[in-house]
Subunit: 354 residues, 2 copies
């Protein structure tokens, strides 16, 4: 035991193991739980966890299993007496629909690797990455603040958004790219059956594009099922664009191809870093009565307005029943959130950082 | 001037500049030619070339322009008195159909970068990479041997194949992946128009997959036109597989998705390195009369049989009219080449290296 408290990590694979290492580095005592005894023992032997155990009372439980198991294990962790529970799954809306306990904060670190399992675990993979949190109206302020503090210590950039918005976005930047990489690899492998040396011509570009296809396949079918609608929507867009491209190549329409590729280049070069650009950000301060649920209520209002929150905290007054919720939002989205807050009786102030 | 002779490099962009640097390092005197005077001067100022000039007599000319300009510039270099001419374009069959001068050896280094232009030039990009050569029945042995020696000194692994086979293979491992990366980037950018923060969720996998889309777009329309048939063929395969995948996701067919992803993983993990595996290779020695055209004739026969050659040289006897062509081929392909050679009166011997 030590100053931070006891954390239970359920599922000590690549991400769970990395969370365990990051927690230990931050001063937590970490109990690892895994249905695979060998994995759990390996995690213990390699210093990823302090002990191997089961669910029980704890200060924090992190569920890091395949997505189809998360809801049941979150509930089990809550039932076993965890003070705060979060998860790291890549689909959030089904969880939010199933769980309404104030101690649960749905999360998703946007980090990964083509490595497998606990041997690929690394506390540094979260540094500089985005960690999405999806609180609901049921979420306790204390639970939200605690999870936010923990992942900030890991070096991650918190981004608060609605579960539905999260699921749409990861379909675009993670799920469909992953499926496309796998499909490109299969198309190449099929061609290589007739011509073994084909793959020897694969240079860095192809290797980069297909690297994620080397990752653990077993987690993906459940992700596809849970996020089926958003993935199908993005795949339809991709199929439409690729069919258009196929016609442009068949028709040798060089101007159209150039326009297509130039647009892609501009977009790729403008790909933002994970860190928000302070020039475009504003700090919003919202005085609140110091009562439970104020932080979550404001966060959920923002996400309903499609205002993403890049940082959030609640500052409690040392005297009296006052507190201040402090949010970091993009400046262009601040006015609509401010108006909505005023309609609900809050008196927010906005301070542009740029 | 120096021991290796004078080389003229036409087009001192990323690849041409890299070839120029590699040639200089190998002891060549390099003249740079570029239609853009500023590019040529920049190449001179940064030590990529020894001088800026035009076409003229030389020991070696390397044409490193966009593919639509290559055939005309190869002919111009030949007409100007180049002893040997090669090119670095990524489409080979149209060139082979247009050019029949024995001094021309069509080539393609499988190397690149998302960088642009001469400022990204780097002599090391060829080290360990594959450099395809596509000789024809017209190709002089001396020209083929010379180009092979030069690129071997760059650290590249020579791979001899037919122009048609080359074009099919690069459609699979380079052209279609590039177009897919650009299209994925555009799909993401279109979604991001409604949701600016979407791209902030792009982690390493997405960044790796779309990196090539940041490269110079202007070279691609002509590549697509010249290799239109092969690219359309591979895009059709990709569209078919992605449409199948879309149905599997829509139907939440988890077993089918798992099989798809597992196949991709196995293929990705088995992606061969560029270096041939000596265990599977055989050296074939073919005694020949020491007369012009023997090396090219044997190389072309091999490519017609779909036998790729990983190394080749002609050893001339110091006495008498005998020589030996030495080829490195995959052991499983050696017998069919041996039979075809015997049918043509050669008496090859095979020595497995493994």
């Amino acid at each position: 035991m030590n100053g931070q408290g006891t954390a239970i990590v359920v599922g000590v694979g690549l991400i769970g193991g990395s969370v365990a290492l990051a927690l230990r580095r931050a001063g937590w005592y970490v109990v690892g739980v895994d249905t695979d005894a060998a994995t759990a023992q390996h995690a213990l032997a390699t210093g990823v966890v302090d002990e191997v155990g089961g669910l029980g009372p704890c200060d924090l439980a992190v569920i890091a299993t395949p997505v189809n198991l998360i809801a049941g294990l979150v509930q089990a962790a809550l039932d076993a007496g965890a003070a705060v529970v979060t998860d790291v799954g890549s689909v959030k809306a089904p969880l939010a629909a199933l769980l309404s306990d104030g101690r649960f904060v749905a999360g998703h670190p946007i980090a990964g690797s083509e490595q497998d399992g606990v041997s690929g675990a690394n506390a540094d993979i979260f540094s500089g990455s985005v960690w999405v949190l999806c609180p609901t109206a049921d979420t306790d302020d204390a639970a939200l603040s605690r999870v936010k503090e923990v992942v900030s210590v890991f070096g991650a950039q918190v981004l608060v958004m609605s579960p539905e918005r999260h699921d749409e976005l990861v379909a675009v930047v993670s799920h469909v790219p992953h499926l496309t990489a796998a499909t490109l690899m299969r198309v190449a492998a099929n061609h290589a059956e007739q011509q073994r040396n084909l793959l020897r011509l694969a240079a860095g570009g192809f290797r980069d594009m297909t690297r994620v296809a080397a990752g653990q396949p077993s987690i993906w079918p459940a992700i596809c099922t849970q996020n089926s609608k958003a993935i199908v929507n993005v795949l339809d867009d991709l199929l439409t664009d690729l069919a258009w491209l196929r016609e442009a190549v068949a028709n040798q329409d060089e101007p159209a191809l150039l326009t297509h590729l130039e647009g892609a280049r501009v977009a790729r070069r403008n790909l933002p870093t994970t860190a928000p650009d302070a020039q475009n950000m504003s700090e919003m301060r919202v005085p609140v009565l110091d009562r439970p649920g104020e932080l979550a209520a404001i966060a959920v209002l923002a996400t309903e307005l499609d205002v993403n929150i890049f940082d959030l905290e609640i500052a409690h007054s040392s005297e009296g029943p006052q507190g201040v919720v402090v949010l970091l939002v993009e400046s262009e989205t601040a006015p609509k959130l401010s108006i909505a807050l005023r309609e609900r009786g809050y008196r927010p102030s906005i301070q542009p950082l740029g």
